[in-house]
């Protein structure tokens, strides 16, 4: 995995984070298989170094050493033409929040806290991001020493897996993982044991939400041993009808089995279900559907103050309008990109005057209004 002809440049550091604001993230490109429903695919691998205590028991010195070793291994691996490396313990809150919004780090990692509540912002920890596409990110000293994630637009778990798998091999060669024949990759939390792999998709399910069938889907998914979460993972609200679906089981099934079930069985079923709900809405409840979509577009085009929740819900309904042909003239990619740019830290870092919530709501409304300029109606 060397860069070949491509010259691997010096890694970017935290001071370059604000530059990400004007870049589009791969996982929100809005392209690929079933992208009318599946926003993005993501594979995450949990790994720990062999012979080193895990995060809940590692002392400060050990954490420092793990961070140093992993950082060196990652940056030496030439995993990408350019890397962003961020030492999170010396990085400001808005910058860390921006990485959360781009789904490059988890919220606990931004805060430096373990699920047990121990830790804090000074905990030595970091993240590496592959630039320019942001197709992968590697968290160091989160719940596990390493969390490798690869992201793709649309339903594309196979490619995301290949990427994560290749990074995994490269880092294993340099670092050596804790592994046992019986339990597989040894992780801090027993629920990640075995493959340490989570295959997840971000789904846009506005029609199922509007028909009220979303709860049925949620229960069916949970019965199949899947986890359903909101836009920003654990504990987050499903703002704007976006849901994350991922496997719960990691032990006793191979990566191929986990991947195959998600990619070929479960996700296509949910996609089919959402598409059917969209057809039903248009056939049987057209007036109500049009009303919801056009109200959303009118709000996006006219509001002078917008909260994150309002903007997310509006963008979700506008996206539905685009997908079912009720709305024309709006660039679908612009909507996908707005989902990112309306988030708090993105606004804060782009507009230094938008530091308080009131000013941010104004800046958010201005940004949305100036972007959503297309005509509506058929």
């Amino acid at each position: 995995m060397n860069g070949g002809g491509e010259q691997a440049g010096m890694p970017w550091d935290a001071t370059r984070i604000p530059e990400l604001c004007v870049r589009r993230a791969e996982w929100l490109r809005g392209e690929g298989e079933a992208s009318d429903v599946v926003m993005s695919s993501r594979v995450r691998l949990a790994r720990n170094l062999d012979g080193v205590k895990f995060m809940p028991r590692a002392e400060r010195g050990e954490r420092d050493r793990v961070l140093g070793l992993c950082k060196a291994a990652i940056l030496d691996s030439e995993l990408s033409p350019r890397m962003l490396w961020v030492d999170l313990h010396t990085t400001g809150k808005a910058e860390r929040q921006l990485l959360v919004e781009r789904q490059l780090i988890s919220r606990p990692h931004a805060r430096g806290k373990l699920s047990t509540g121990s830790g804090g912002t000074e905990e030595p920890r970091g993240v590496a991001v592959g630039l320019p596409e942001e197709q992968f990110a590697i968290m160091v000293n989160e719940e596990d020493h390493l969390r490798i994630q690869a992201m793709r637009s649309g339903l594309c778990l196979g490619e995301a897996w290949q990427h994560a798998d290749a990074i995994d091999d490269e880092l294993d060669k340099r670092l050596g993982y804790a592994f046992s024949e019986r339990f597989g990759y040894l992780t801090a939390c027993p629920t990640n044991l075995g493959t340490g792999a989570r295959f997840s998709v971000m789904l846009h399910l506005p029609a199922l939400k509007m028909t009220g069938e979303i709860e049925k889907v949620r229960h069916a998914a949970e019965d199949m041993g899947l986890v359903v979460r909101g836009f920003y993972g654990e504990g987050s609200e499903a703002f704007g009808d976006f849901f994350q679906l991922s496997n719960q089981v990691t032990l006793g099934k191979s990566e191929a089995e986990l991947l195959g079930v998600m990619q070929r069985d479960i996700v296509p079923k949910v996609v089919e279900y959402e598409r059917r709900a969209r057809d039903v809405l248009l056939a049987n409840r057209r007036r109500m559907t049009e009303d919801q979509v056009y109200r959303a577009v009118a709000m996006l085009q006219s509001a002078r103050l917008l909260t994150v929740e309002e903007a997310m819900n509006g963008l979700s309904r506008a996206r539905l309008g685009l997908q079912v042909g009720l709305v024309h003239g709006i660039d679908p990619e612009a909507i996908a990109w707005l989902i990112l740019r309306i988030q708090t830290a993105h606004l804060e870092l782009m507009h230094p005057d938008a530091a308080d919530p009131g000013a941010r709501n104004a800046a958010r409304a201005d940004l949305v209004r100036s972007t959503i300029t297309g005509s509506t109606g058929s």
């Binding site: 062999d50 196979g158 798998d165 060669k173 019986r182 597989g184 075995g194 792999a197 191929a256």
Partner: protein
């Protein structure tokens, strides 16, 4: 009377013991008794065992873990106790899995829909490991893992490669699949023992 552990089958094994003047009764079905015995830690009594499993939460205060050394051993590597593990949901180090293996197994089965054994990717498939250690003086425990992680036999190597092949095909990575197929052909064709052992600077990693 139903079994204390599964609450499902008829209890046929009745155990009465007296600890510090307190009568302790345990009623188990044959299957649960067998499972427990199979995994029982050296010095722990059945009662502690059940308390440890969290199967008898209501009765747990009846079986306080006695502070005698060796009874409810903490992890020798990181000092984690099983109670802490249950409270936080996190282990402290890789050796915790071995230390608490018998207690964790039923919990793992529950969390992983019956899964108890890893069947996926294997790090030994990565050839020519050049491992840097964080602790230069690696503890004995860590060394055990080193020898454990290297497949000892050609059969295991073939099995691991077969898994990897399925995975590559699943991911539609045909280039990789072809490489693995070649390697499999080499292994099944001639002895291939030397090939694997020779590749490593692994501590204790001789082929057969």
């Amino acid at each position: 009377m139903l079994c204390d552990r599964c609450g499902d089958r008829e209890a046929t094994i009745h155990d009465v013991s007296i600890v510090k003047g307190e009568v302790r009764e345990t009623h188990l079905c044959e299957r649960c008794a067998e499972e427990l015995q199979a995994g029982q830690a050296k010095n722990a009594t059945l009662g502690e065992w059940l308390a440890g499993l969290g199967m008898m939460v209501a009765d747990a205060p009846k079986f306080p873990a006695p502070p005698k050394p060796g009874r409810a051993p903490a992890c020798p590597t990181c000092g984690m106790r099983f109670l802490d593990l249950r409270k936080t949901g996190l282990v402290g180090c890789q050796d915790c899995y071995e230390t608490f293996e018998t207690r964790l197994t039923p919990l793992l089965r529950k969390a992983h829909d019956g899964g108890a054994r890893h069947t996926g990717k294997h790090p030994a498939l990565t050839s020519k490991r050049e491992v840097i250690r964080v602790n230069d003086a690696a503890e004995p425990a860590a060394r055990e893992h080193d020898s454990e992680r290297t497949p000892e036999t050609v059969e295991e190597r073939i099995e691991a490669l077969t898994h990897q092949l399925a995975l590559a095909i699943e991911a539609e990575n045909y280039e990789r699949a072809a490489q693995i197929r070649d390697e499999l052909a080499d292994l099944t064709g001639d002895g291939g023992l030397g090939g694997f052992g020779a590749s490593g600077n692994e501590p204790g990693g001789s082929g057969a």
